[in-house]
Symmetry: C2
Subunit: 301 residues, 2 copies
C-alpha cells in the first residue's frame, strides 16, 4: 500500500514536497524553512511572504466564537512577521466553506479578522471563497506580505554556540482553552530587533519541544534546556509548556555578553511581560533531544 | 433558521464578508473585485497580489492525474496576473490534506506546480500543510505576488461605451474534460497591454455569461453580445461557451478606432490563436442580461 499523509510527520512531508519543485532562484534571500520567506523589496527593506491555514476541528472547535477564530487566523500570521523582526502589510483570505455553513458565522469571522488587522497594522487586499464537498470542515487560509528593515531581519538559522535561549511571556495551556488568545509579540520583536539583541528568533507555534530543535537545527547547532526554568502559565506543567503549542511567544537567542543589558532595558520597556532564560545553544553533539510538540499529521495517531 | 453559504451566490457572499472588514487604505490602488489586488511597488511598477483555491471533487476529480491538477492550481493564478497585464513572481502553496491522502499523489501535485512555475516564470517561496478532519477533500490554496509596469496595468473597470468586446482562443467544453488544460495567456496579454490595446481586461474563469457582466458592471456599463459570433471549441454549443467556465482565455475591450490595427498585428504575432469580436460595450440601460456561468455555491442547488 502506498504511503499516506498520516504515515509521516509534517516536517518530513514538507521536505518531500519541496524536493519536487525546482530550486528557488538566488534572488530569494530566505526560502521555505523560516517563519516567512524573504525576498528583495528595495535598498533598505526585504519583503516578507507568509501563508498559514487553520481548519475547524483541527485548530479550533465548531463551538468557538467565530470572531475570536477570525482574530486567531490573522494573529498567527502577524506573529510570524514579528518573528522575523518585520511588520505585516497586505493580507489575502481564502475560505473553503461547507455549503451548510452559517453566513452569520462567516461575517463574525471576518469581523474578527478585521479587528486583528486594525490592531497590528495590516490590510485586507483580496480573497477567494470556494465551497467544499459535503462532510468537509471550514478551512481558513491566510497569505500575507510584510516588510522588514534589512538591519532588523532576524532568521532562525543564525544562532551561535553559547548563545543564551530566551522566551517571552508564559508557556503552556493552549489546549486547555487559551488557543484563541493569540497576542502577537509585534512590538516586543520590533524593540528587540531594532537593538540587535536576538542572534536568531522564531515564534513558538508548535511548542518549545518542537520549535527549539527547529531553530537549533536551522543554525546547525544543538541546545540544552533547563526544564526547571520554564515560565509556566498558571496551573500548567513543564510538559504542557513543551508540547501544547500555540503559545505565540518569541523564542530567541542572545550573545551572552549582552544579557545584562537586555534584561535591564527590557524590564523598563515591558514591565508586565517577562523574558526568561531557558537554556543555551551548544554544539550538535552536546545537544539534548526533546520529543513532543504539536504535529498536525501525527496528532491523531 | 439562519442563512447558509448555499443560500446566496459567491459574489453576494464576498460582498457581505467585505462589509465586515475596515475600508482598505488609500495606498492600495485596486482592492477586492479585480483579478488581482494592486499595491504600490516602486516608481515604475505596481505589485499584484492574488489568492485562489481548488478543491477535490469541486474543481477537479479524485481520478485526475495529480501532476495536471498541480499545473492547473498554478496556471489559474498565472492567468489572473496575465489579465492585469502583469507577470507572476512569488508563490505560496497551502495544502489541506486528508490523513489518508497518498504522499505519492502529493509529490506529483508538486511536480506539476513546479513545471507550471518554470514555464511562466514564477517561483515557490514558501508554503503550509495542515491535516483536515476525516471526510474532507484535498484543498490547494495558492497565493502569489506579481508585478506589472504602471503603463501596462489593465483593470476590468475601465471599459468605455462603444468599445468592442474580444476574446482570445475558443470557449466551452471545460466540463467535458478540458478543465485541466489551462494555458494562461501570459504572452498574449503582455503583447496586448504593451501596445495599450485593451481598455479593460479580465480572464474568463467562470464563463462568459458570468464574467462579461462583471467586467461591464465594474465599468458601470452594459454589454451586447453576438451569440452567433462566439468562437466555440469543437463540438461545443454557445450555451457551453457561456456557462462551462474555466476557459482561461482573455476577455478584453478595445476602442473601435484601434480594431483594424489590432487585428492586423495580432494575426502576424499569434497566427495560431484567434481573437474574436463577440460584442460591444453599451450603456447600462441598453444592456443584455446574461444568465448562467459557474458559481461554486449555487452549483449544487
Amino acid at each position: 500500500m502506498s504511503l499516506k499523509a498520516q504515515d509521516i510527520g509534517e516536517d518530513d512531508l514538507i521536505q518531500r514536497l519541496l524536493g519536487k519543485i525546482p530550486i528557488v532562484p538566488t534572488s530569494l534571500h530566505t526560502g521555505p524553512g523560516d517563519d516567512c520567506a524573504v525576498a528583495p523589496l528595495d535598498e533598505d527593506h526585504w519583503q516578507l511572504l507568509k501563508t498559514d491555514a487553520i481548519v475547524e476541528s483541527i485548530h479550533f472547535f465548531p463551538t468557538d466564537e467565530a470572531k475570536r477564530v477570525g482574530w486567531k487566523a490573522i494573529a498567527r500570521v502577524v506573529s510570524d512577521f514579528a518573528a522575523m523582526g518585520g511588520r505585516p502589510q497586505w493580507f489575502l483570505v481564502t475560505l473553503g466553506i461547507p455549503q451548510s455553513y452559517s453566513i452569520e458565522k462567516l461575517e463574525q469571522l471576518y469581523a474578527g479578522m478585521g479587528e486583528c488587522l486594525q490592531s497590528y497594522g495590516g490590510s485586507l487586499c483580496g480573497g477567494e471563497t470556494t465551497s467544499i464537498p459535503a462532510g468537509g470542515a471550514l478551512m481558513i487560509s491566510i497569505a500575507a506580505t510584510g516588510w522588514v528593515k534589512k538591519s532588523q531581519l532576524t532568521l532562525r538559522s543564525t544562532a551561535a554556540q553559547d548563545d543564551v535561549i530566551f522566551v517571552t511571556g508564559h508557556l503552556g495551556g493552549s489546549l486547555a482553552g487559551r488557543h484563541l488568545d493569540v497576542t502577537p509579540r509585534l512590538l516586543e520583536a520590533e524593540w528587540l530587533t531594532s537593538r540587535s539583541f536576538p542572534s536568531a528568533m522564531m515564534d513558538l507555534s508548535d511548542g518549545l519541544a518542537r520549535d527549539l530543535p527547529r531553530l537549533a537545527a536551522a543554525s546547525n547547532l544543538g541546545y540544552q534546556l533547563d526544564l526547571s526554568s520554564l515560565p509556566l502559565h498558571n496551573g500548567c506543567s513543564a510538559a504542557q509548556a513543551l508540547s501544547d503549542g500555540e503559545d505565540y511567544e518569541l523564542l530567541f537567542t542572545v550573545n551572552p555578553d549582552r544579557i545584562a543589558q537586555l534584561k535591564q532595558q527590557w524590564s523598563l520597556e515591558f514591565p508586565d511581560t517577562p523574558i526568561t532564560r531557558v537554556g543555551t545553544i551548544v554544539r550538535i553533539d552536546e545537544s539534548m533531544q526533546l520529543k513532543g510538540g504539536w504535529d498536525h499529521f501525527a496528532a491523531e495517531r
